[in-house]
Symmetry: C2
Amino acid sequence: MIKLLLAEDQGMMRGALALLLDLEEDMEVVAQVPAGDQIVDAALAARPDVALLDIELPGRSGLDAAADLRDRLPSCKVLIVTTFGRPGYLRRAMEAGASGFLVKDGPVEDLAAAVRRVLAGERVIDPGLAAAALSAGPNPLTPRERDVLTAAVDGATVADIAGKLHLSQATVRNYLSAAIGKTGTRNRMEAVRAARRNGWL
Amino acid sequence: MIKLLLAEDQGMMRGALALLLDLEEDMEVVAQVPAGDQIVDAALAARPDVALLDIELPGRSGLDAAADLRDRLPSCKVLIVTTFGRPGYLRRAMEAGASGFLVKDGPVEDLAAAVRRVLAGERVIDPGLAAAALSAGPNPLTPRERDVLTAAVDGATVADIAGKLHLSQATVRNYLSAAIGKTGTRNRMEAVRAARRNGWL
DNA sequence: CAGGCACCATGACATTTGTCAGGGGTGATC
DNA sequence: GATCACCCCTGACAAATGTCATGGTGCCTG
């Protein structure tokens, strides 16, 4: 019996997937969590064979949790299941030791198949996405540039960002300018969108 | 047998829900579409009793399709099933003649229950959301202000927007300023976010 | 140890953005 | 026929934003 952990914030999606996977004769969902900061605890308690993790979760990113899982429960394979096939996400997932990366666009049948393949030691990755990840290259933003850009996502002014990160306003403008340059965009808003699209935040 | 139409762009979600609803003894999914512009055609062909529609779909909004369905296939009840419980969405859904409004956060069991209640002539609406919709009030933005704001979502400059909408730059700035004022925000980006959060775009 | 890189900061500058006070035009409503 | 809301425009001004040049600090690596 393959024991599964399911981390997904949308209740309906989580419930539907759990039901679906439970229908497979050789699978059993032994834990379901709606938040990223519950993943590791639940996994240590339920000891699943495969963890299906969403990335954008409340509390903590599924990617961070994946890295943690690799250390604390190495027997458990990680399969990332996400809405957004962002190149940077795939890259980070691989670095975090994930065995597979699935987008929620595909047919449901892929899911159980992917679980089995992952458990067999294979790596499961959308081929088109893999190409995109390679062509997009690695994240060009420095940590500080990321900080400033993430602080700018919701329309914060330079003063807001400077206050939050304890920087001078001029410094913030410099980082923003650098980020705009590196993303090849024309302003803050475009830079934020570009960075997001690539999974750089 | 209750015949259902399912409109949802995420393949995995669509497949899982379809499977789930088909498991109910008295229900049958007679049509599945991944895009908004396929809803009406599919409904006219399959003649479902209830249509489960997502809002944010490629091609066409589920809300627009709902309004169309009311005219072209009045026998078919509409149940909106969406990720985002935005007050403005709920309001528009009601105006489009929807019989129910569900957010994907809740448990899956709600779904089949909602279908039955809708078919019994009830209105199914999340109570908390209804309150939010009332307290948020109607959309304060004029059509033109909406146009300008939607043109600004991806970081377009004033010149871009003016070009796209064939307006003078000063006019665009005025509409943006008005939108910023009405949303009670400090700049374009915040205004866009606020308008989106309320479902005003 | 030198060079490179990320980090933090300044100051000056041009550009963009947001605001305000106008002026016309339309159509609906009272 | 007056009023009102929306539409489109102008011009001027203050504030915020983006760019550049420059300089100092650490830290790692060849």
